[in-house]
Amino acid sequence: MEAFIENQFVRFVLLISTAVFLAYRLLLVSKYLCKEYLKQKSMVDRINSYLPQTQCGRCGYKGCLPYARAISQGDMINKCPPGGISTILNLVELLNEPGLRLNPAHGVFQPPLTAVIREEECIGCTKCIQACPVDAILGAPKLMHTVITDECTGCDLCIEPCPVDCIDLVLLPTSSPRYWLNPIIQNSRFNTLETN
């Protein structure tokens, strides 16, 4: 056995085989770990899953999916006010782009809102129904309209077309108020977001 090992060529083959075997095993293990990840959706879908889906159009596109497609083609990632910091951070993480603060031209982050129609002034012109991106407004021509609160995304598209301006946005009543807050937030990634 000793002589066998001493032989230069045999040691060469031994080392090569162990190295290749090791690399192969590593790749197999990571392929198995990626199995469930491969089922993941495409890039646009993953960008879309980070967007808040309020379909508000403040980013200049008619809905979140078009904006997601634009981002995958290279558009800026800080045009979504309802998403706020969390959307930007996730997109920075996903696309490995430099993080930019929210672009104020597109609006400011607001907590979740919902539209409410003042019943006495509504004339039933169905303009808001056509404008609503998620069909959250119920009503028929010349009849009373009303907003389904848990369907409404608070995107204020219905306010502008209403001739009698009887729709206003109110804060969504959250079920349990959160009073436990983090004493120190050390999120270094918040600080690195440059102002655009």
Binding site: L33, L89, E93, L94, Y179, L181
Partner: protein, 374 residues
């Protein structure tokens, strides 16, 4: 940000970070006293000087970060760093070297990362390594007042003239005569006590005991073993006080012992001395009990601590036996600190109700994103 109501629990134990750090310093006292007894005031002077410098640097850093000076100085972590730094560097160093080393330790190795509790590397060891690499000759020569070598007893290192000599060494501008201070003190021990001649022979303590010389006499050169026994006692005190957990020291000591047993060759090259000398011959005890167990930079999970200790033990022996630098504690501890986050991430205890510690691929969803990726 509206402040939250006070969260439970409303009662706490008395232990606070301040007195934990004080207990660590108290643990060092036996070691320091024996070292001063043998090597004169050099060690004590170093420690006091580095404490003063450390507190000034800490105050400077805190005021720069505009934090409340009083509270952050109160958690005397700078004190611990200064004491450990003062103990590891050889006595008789000029003061500006000490100033540089402790400055690097406190400012660069600790406050750049954000102050207490956030430095991934042990600041004392960073300072020591910084000096070791930039001033190798100064760092490896121990200036001991000359009589320790000569048999004449009338001039004891702890006497006033011993103090005067140490002061001259540390503050060269004090010696008004233009003599080079080195001639002024002709007694100059060679490299660190871990010199080959010491390691080859058997333990001086044993020989002194057999030839019934007094163990504590300076001539019987049992200095280094007693200093290490002092640190061992300090370490046992810390373990008893449960300031540190047993995992790191036990791992380091067992690794160093097993390897030195494996490589022990009585006749051969001296460095492969007996395991006893490897444990008590050089700075292993202070490394195992005080430096490696600095909780901030060490691993925190129990399994992680064991592997961390083994890595440090291995590299202590590696550097000491085959490395070019004689004192290996700093290098080994920093190597361990570098791997500590990795060990913490993978070696986790099994959580109640789960089969394994790590729950699912921790960042399958692409790292630290804010929203949980479905």
């Amino acid at each position: 940000m509206t402040s939250s109501p006070q969260s439970p629990p409303f009662q706490r134990t008395r232990r606070s970070t301040n007195n934990i750090m004080l207990q660590v310093v108290a643990g060092c006292i036996p070691g320091i006293s024996i070292a001063t007894w043998y090597f004169g005031y050099g060690v004590l002077l170093n420690v006091l000087l580095s404490i003063v410098f450390a507190l000034c640097f800490e105050a400077l850093a805190i005021s720069l970060r505009s934090r409340h000076i009083q509270t952050t100085l109160a958690d005397n972590s700078a004190l611990v760093t200064a004491v450990l730094f003062g103990l590891t560097i050889p006595p008789g160093l000029p003061w500006w070297l000490l100033f540089l080393g402790i400055g690097f330790a406190i400012l660069i190795a600790k406050h750049i990362y954000g102050g207490l509790g956030q430095n991934p590397f042990n600041p004392a060891m960073c300072g020591y390594l910084f000096l070791l690499l930039s001033f190798p000759s100064a760092m490896t020569s121990w200036h001991i007042p000359n009589d320790a070598l000569s048999s004449v007893q009338e001039f004891a290192p702890t006497s006033l003239s011993g103090l005067q000599q140490s002061l001259h060494l540390t503050f060269p501008f004090l010696s008004h005569n233009t003599l080079n201070p080195i001639e002024f003190i002709d007694g100059l021990a060679m490299a660190t006590p871990l010199i080959e001649s010491k390691m080859a022979g058997t333990s001086k303590l044993l020989t002194a005991w057999q030839t019934d010389q007094s163990l504590f006499a300076r001539s019987s050169e049992t200095a280094w073993e007693l200093v290490n026994i002092g640190y061992f006692l300090g370490g046992a005190f810390l373990l008893f006080q449960r300031v540190i957990s047993w995992h790191i020291p036990v791992a380091i000591i067992t690794t160093v012992m097993t390897i030195s047993i494996l490589f022990y060759s009585p006749g051969g090259y001296a460095i492969y001395g007996t395991p006893y000398l490897h444990l008590f011959g050089s700075a292993t005890m202070i490394g195992a009990f005080f430096i490696a167990t600095d909780p901030v930079s060490a691993a925190t999970t129990n399994k992680g601590k064991l592997v961390y200790g083994v890595i440090i033990g291995l590299s202590i022996y590696g550097v000491r036996a085959w490395g070019s630098y004689l004192d290996s504690i700093a290098i080994a501890v920093l190597l361990g600190n570098f791997l500590a986050p990795l060990l913490d991430h993978f070696l986790r205890p099994r959580i109640y109700g789960h089969k394994k510690g790590v729950l699912g691929p921790s960042d399958m969803g692409g790292g630290s994103n804010k929203v949980i990726d479905s």
